[in-house]
Amino acid sequence: DARVTQTPRHKVTEMGQEVTMRCQPILGHNTVFWYRQTMMQGLELLAYFRNRAPLDDSGMPKDRFSAEMPDATLATLKIQPSEPRDSAVYFCASGKTGELFFGEGSRLTVL
C-alpha cells in the first residue's frame, strides 16, 4: 500500500533550535509539496519540487526555512532557528498527474 511517509510525527523543541522534517514520497511520483497547516492560516504552500528541482518556495520564510530534495526518495524541510510562531502541522504530499497524496504530517511545537 503506497503512501507518503513523514518523520518525525511529533516534535517539541525550544526556540532557537534547528528542526529537520523528512518526507519519503510515493515511488514514481515526480512532484513533492510541503504545506503548513495552522488554525489561523489554514493550509499554506511552502515549497514544491518537480523531478527534484525546486519550482517555487515563495511561501517560505527564506531567512529560516530551507527545503531540499537530495534524491528521489527523500525531501527535507529545515527550520533554523525555530520560533514559537513556527508551531504547526507540516504536511508533505506527492503526486504525478496533479492529484496529491498526503503524508500523516509532522506536528511541531516550538516553546
Binding site: T31, G42, L45, Y48, L55, G98, L100, E104
Partner: protein
Amino acid sequence: ELKVEQNPLFLSMQEGKNYTIYCNYSTTSDRLYWYRQDPGKSLESLFVLLSNGAVKQEGRLMASLDTKARLSTLHITAAVHDLSATYFCAVDGGATDKLIFGTGTRLQVFP
C-alpha cells in the same frame, strides 16, 4: 495570484438533511480537487474534477465543476454522522501543477 474561497466555513446540519458547500476560485483552471480531513488526521482525496461540467459521485457526496463560473460544489445528500469532517477544495494553479487550497468547511452532522 490564485485565490480559493469556500463557504460556508462552518456547517452544522442534522442527519438526513441535504446541503451544498461552495468553492470559488479567482483564475482560470480546469482541474479541481476535493479533500476530506478528520480531526488530527491527514488529508484524503475525495474527487478529482478535470473538465468543465465534470460531475463525480461517491456515496452521499457529489462534486461538480463549472470552469466558466470558476465554481465547484460539493453536495451532501441525507447527511450521516460519519460525514463530519473538514472538507477542502484545491485548485490547480495552471502549468505549474501548484495546488492552492481553500479555507476549508468544517462540517458537523448531529442526530
